[in-house]
């Protein structure tokens, strides 16, 4: 494992690339490939800023295992109906910090997601901040914890596609 460890400079580059992949795979509707960015023991949570401030546990979306995340995507593809749209992520420069655990990094970034209808009408859909735990595994970075805190928590229409 140690031979595959990354230097802080390498992590910086890899984390930026991971963020780029993250937004691009959602925006180009490659959600099955988006799943590949997560570790097998991952968790994924979208929380409203108002619940976080009040220390309340209710999420907007929460997957406590990678299989739950896979189920979300399968449901989205085959069971759920939602507003037909294109997504566009704008993710700010990530802020990267080491943790007490070797090979585990905290990465934060602000984001904005615009939704555009299939008729070409855009709207600002969501704005908030990511707080991620990224782990070096086999020479690459994977998301083992993703927390999306949504400032715009009065969700327009509905929230189907992950943020």
């Amino acid at each position: 494992m140690t031979s595959l460890a990354m230097t802080p400079a390498e992590v910086r580059v890899a984390a930026q690339e991971l963020m780029d992949d993250y937004g691009e795979r959602i925006d180009s509707n490659r959600l099955e490939e988006w799943l590949d960015l997560f570790a097998e023991d991952c968790s994924y949570r979208i929380m409203s800023r108002e619940n976080v401030e009040q220390n309340l546990p209710v999420p907007l979306m929460m997957c406590t295992s990678k299989n739950q995340l896979r189920d979300r995507i399968v449901a989205l593809r085959r069971a759920n109906e939602y507003n037909l749209h294109y997504d566009r992520h704008v993710i700010g420069a990530p802020r990267i910090r080491p943790t007490d655990t070797a090979d585990l990094w905290t990465v934060e970034a602000s984001y904005a997601v615009f939704q555009t209808t299939l008729e070409g009408q855009p709207r600002l859909f969501s704005v908030g901040r990511y707080t991620d735990k990224l782990r070096v595994e086999g020479g690459t970075l994977l998301i083992c914890e993703k927390l999306v805190v949504v400032d715009s928590f009065s969700i327009p229409t509905l929230l189907a596609t992950p943020l």
Binding site: S48, L60, M62, C63, Q68, D71, A79, S154, T157, L159
Partner: protein
């Protein structure tokens, strides 16, 4: 006009051509008309109804307050020093400014930032700067009476810890308004102390009545919400039904999981369902038994703005906040019980995935309402066809292949609005 709340009331809306007297035809313009909307605010939200404004568990301590809406009107709900609960209009009696701008907090009084008028937790005006002027000059006139200038009070009553408010002196007591069927459902859901687990909010670009119809429409439940059916949380083949109060203003949809078999299900849904779907991690749909009656799904709609739901182990209230003819906010308050184990709390939190704007079995409603609002705007003279379960008499049923409760809703709505057709079904 961007903010529909600024639309003045120009008096009564034009007459409604209902086509049928049993509300099986609903003219689309009723979802769009600003005059109808203004009349709804006066006759429904300020009329003889009780609107849900919160839960007692949200303001447990003296001084706790929350701001909310009753129809379009901003409201403060708080708990006074003696423990009693007050609801008042959140608008300064001096110059009309919003007094409380925060969504929640704890305070000894409510002070308007504009000219610092100060109100007690009971809404009474306690003081104002320079009331007696300065060095003998200025100040309020000699006939200014503090008692006349409090925050306008609403009637406020709770049942089973759910707080309701009413603008009208004519509204019957809350317990009578709920009636025996809905009191007993509240007693069932709120049978012990609850704990707030969090909130979800959703802005839907549609008329508020479309949501009231939606919560009474059992026909769509198992068709639109495929996740529901596919994973067995609610299927129309299960034992279930719809129950209304005598005046058909409130409605309870209920069903029991595990009361149908696979053969029945296959026969009914084989043409509309993809049965190859399996959850890799089915914990999210697991129903841990907690009510003796075996009911696993109960959607209880209280006219005009409240819903209380039990979906598996997800428990919540939903409040409709009107924002003009074409928009409303849906405000979900999810809760469990104070004596829940950590495991049960975690399970309820996981099942938050089922409900709200990202709910695996509820997200579709936002879209269904918006596409209805969008497509009906150009067809204002046309109408919907509400005939599932037949027309005519409006009754409770022991099945869910019906939209009779939707006709019930309209019958009470029309009565309150003073727009009933000749010989109307009630």
């Amino acid at each position: 006009m961007d903010d529909p709340r600024t639309i003045p009331n120009h008096g009564d809306a034009p007459p409604v051509h209902w086509r049928r007297n049993d509300y099986s035809r609903i003219p689309y313009w009723l979802y769009h008309d600003p005059q109808i909307y203004a009349q709804e605010q006066e006759r429904i939200f300020k009329g003889p109804t009780w609107s849900m404004v919160g839960l007692e568990a949200e303001i447990p301590n003296p001084g706790d307050f929350r701001t909310t809406f009753l129809g379009d009107t901003p409201i403060i709900v708080d708990r006074a020093a003696d423990g009693s609960i007050y609801a008042m209009v959140n608008r300064c009696a001096h110059h009309g400014a919003l007094v409380r701008r925060e969504p929640r907090g704890n305070a000894r009084e409510h002070i308007c930032i504009y000219h610092r008028w100060c109100y007690g937790l009971d809404g009474k005006l306690k003081g104002l700067p320079f009331r007696r002027g300065l060095k003998g000059k200025g100040g309020m006139g000699p006939d200014f009476d503090m008692a006349d200038h409090g925050l306008p009070q609403l009637r406020c009553e709770s049942y089973a810890g759910v707080i309701f408010a009413s603008f009208s002196a004519e509204t019957e007591p809350l317990a009578d308004y709920l009636g025996p069927i809905f009191r007993s459902h509240f007693d069932r859901i709120f049978h012990k102390k609850i704990r707030i687990l969090g909130y979800q909010r959703q802005r839907i670009a549609g008329n508020w009545k479309l949501y009231l119809e939606n919560t009474r429409d059992t026909y769509h439940g198992t068709l639109l919400h495929e996740f529901h059916t596919t994973f067995g949380l609610s299927r129309i083949t299960q034992t279930g039904g719809v129950t209304m109060d005598q005046r058909h203003r409130h409605n309870l949809i209920w069903s029991k999981i595990g009361t149908d078999d696979q053969a029945q299900y296959d026969a009914v849904y084989k043409e509309v369902r993809d049965d190859s779907l399996r959850l890799l991690d089915p914990r999210v749909v697991e129903v841990k038994p907690e009510f003796d009656d075996g009911i696993s799904l109960a959607i209880c709609a209280i006219f005009p703005n409240a819903t209380v739901h039990q979906i598996g182990n997800s428990l919540a209230t939903r409040q409709v906040r009107t924002m003009g003819p074409g928009e409303f906010e849906l405000y979900w308050t999810l809760f469990g019980y104070e004596d829940d184990s950590q495991e049960m709390t975690d399970h309820r939190v996981l099942q938050a995935n089922l409900v709200g704007p990202a709910g695996l079995i509820s997200m579709e409603d936002g879209e269904a309402i918006e596409i209805t609002q969008r497509a009906t705007v150009a067809e204002m003279d046309d109408c919907s066809v509400i005939e599932m379960g037949g027309g005519g008499k409006i009754t409770s049923l022991d099945h869910r292949v019906t939209d009779i409760p939707v006709r019930g809703l309209w019958s009470y709505y029309a009565e309150l609005m003073g727009i009933e057709p000749e010989g109307a079904e009630r």
